[in-house]
Symmetry: C2
Subunit: 339 residues, 2 copies
């Protein structure tokens, strides 16, 4: 910004014929001011079109009233909706959000972390997917994760993924499926949706079949990878639980190309239940995550920690207890016609 363009407190003070302090006081509505002074200042502010410089205000010390949100990409409906929900929840407390799209690249995530700290955000909500970044361990700042857990020392807000996995798999079985497959972006022991699937299979005496198509696979490469997995299993599986809705959509497309009837020959169920995908594909049966609730809770936890830090005793480490809390929200089955 060119400083010739935006007026400053001093300009207002001169225009109103009072001191800086006085202007600052009416701005912040602090202390006793005569109505006459208030009016004079108000008029000067209006005349000059003055807007307080938040940068200067932030520098003074306290807070920036900005928090950072790191997600893989808001181009995916799930994270786009998370971002909007977080922004809304923050707005209620006068906070704003700096959204960072890591694109799943840990170098970018690291850069963003530094950027956010450099910009002195008051806290960070991370929903990115690099479990490994050691930087997170050394962050001297309130932080909360959403959707995926980062470390036992950092509070995590998520939906009840395991219950969701069970619910999805049970729904497939209830529809008559005998060999449900799992399609996920990363199969491992901590994948709770996968665990729900496996538990349900085991309880029903069914051998699990797990396919993996990495989360950050380019959209153009997905159909081929997916076909590679599924073609080999035709006749063996009779349903698919995809751990996100877009993957489920790709299964539907694969089935269409193979002339498989859904749900008669192949049942499909997804996960997420975002508004955008439901508008695009209302027939998809899926497990809905309560995005708004999750965002609100993440914000509540974060602001709580920020307040704790800011009101901590002035001397001494004052360490806020490291509550590595996990909050899980219940999911919901959305009936469509694909399962």
């Amino acid at each position: 910004m060119d400083r010739r363009l935006e007026p400053t407190l001093a300009d207002v003070a001169k225009e109103a014929g009072v001191s800086l302090t006085t202007v600052s006081r009416v701005l912040n509505n602090r202390g006793y001011l005569s109505q006459a002074t208030k009016d004079k200042v108000a008029r000067a502010i209006k005349t000059l079109g003055y807007r307080p410089n938040q940068v200067a205000r932030a520098l003074h010390g306290k807070r920036t009233y900005t928090i950072g949100l790191i997600v893989p990409t808001v181009a995916l409906p799930f994270f786009g909706e998370i971002a909007v929900a977080v922004e809304n929840a923050l707005a209620e407390s006068g906070y704003r959000v700096l959204i960072c799209n890591s694109l799943g690249r840990s170098d970018r995530e690291r850069d963003y972390l530094n950027l956010l700290i450099g910009n002195r955000v008051d806290g960070i909500i991370s929903g990115a997917h690099n479990e490994d970044l050691e930087e997170y361990q050394s962050i001297r700042m309130p932080i909360v994760t959403i959707d995926r857990s980062l470390s036992p020392r950092i509070p995590n807000v998520r939906c009840d993924n395991e219950a969701g996995g069970r619910l999805a798999t049970e729904r497939l079985l209830a529809g008559g499926s005998r060999r449900p497959a799992l399609l996920t972006s990363r199969s491992h022991g901590l994948n709770l949706r996968e665990r729900g699937y496996r538990i349900t299979c085991e309880a029903a005496g069914i051998e699990p079949i797990v396919f993996e198509v990495p989360f950050h696979t380019a959209p153009a490469d997905r159909p081929a990878l997916m076909a590679q997995c599924l073609d080999g299993a035709v006749g063996m599986i009779d349903s698919v639980f995809a751990t996100d809705d877009l993957a489920a959509a790709e299964v539907l497309e694969w089935a269409r190309q193979r002339d498989l009837l859904v749900p008669e020959q192949l049942r499909v169920i997804g996960f997420d239940g975002t508004v955008a995908v439901r508008r695009a594909l209302p027939t998809l049966t899926t497990i809905r995550q309560p995005i708004e609730d999750m965002a609100r809770e993440a914000v509540r936890l974060l602001l709580g920690r920020i307040d704790a830090v800011n009101s901590a005793p002035l001397e001494g480490g004052a360490d806020i207890p490291e509550i590595g809390e996990i909050v899980e929200f219940p999911v919901e089955l959305l009936e469509g016609s694909t399962a």
Copy 2:
């Protein structure tokens, strides 16, 4: 942020046993420094885990290297992809973006405008939908609009909407449609997609039929509104050009519920061609906007104006010429099986 936690320049200076200036110099790599000093300082920085306070840096004058992006909501794939593309284009020049979701509410848009100016962003890219906000006229800051035009005085980057409208309508006619309808979020003389539709209809001697479902209609209310429009036209129309893909998806769903075969009994074509919707609904025939190109151009124009402002003669208005440029990018027909 609690200042006890993040070290400052002074801390580094003390640790390294040099002056503030020297540290600042090695940080910005300015002036002549002995290698020994550089090393000492570098070591101190590393030891303390020092990161420059960008807030202080920004206050000093120059720029914040942050630009504001205002969109209706990144929860919609089109704007989510715009946001990511803008962020990527900016990152190449060392800029970052403050994303603001107006949710189509002009009060929120106004608040965000003030927020951005208060935070001294270096410029603004607006893709929101409130053509009316008079604030835009008085902004003393580089600004560029994307997707929709705001004022003849503000540069606008968009796709060739009229050509897109023509292309879509021509595609419907080429498929055999005799009565194509338009479904749009706001019908008016400046709606260029609508104009393309009307022009094509007129050239073919066809009476246009226009349905309107407002952009910010709640998802839950859309199917009913849409059915209200379309039910009355069954038998009269044989195809629909929806001016965005999600609306097109809703038309497909309506057709499914009415047992209308697509494309035999009803042809449907959309607009946008976002990656997310194509993953969800790959069969949809649509007009693709070149989002990345648009974002890149918007950023190029904006950074150009920012540089112009910052290098303007120190005295005098120095007014940068008000180039109310319009840049249109060509669209592309994506063949699916719905038209």
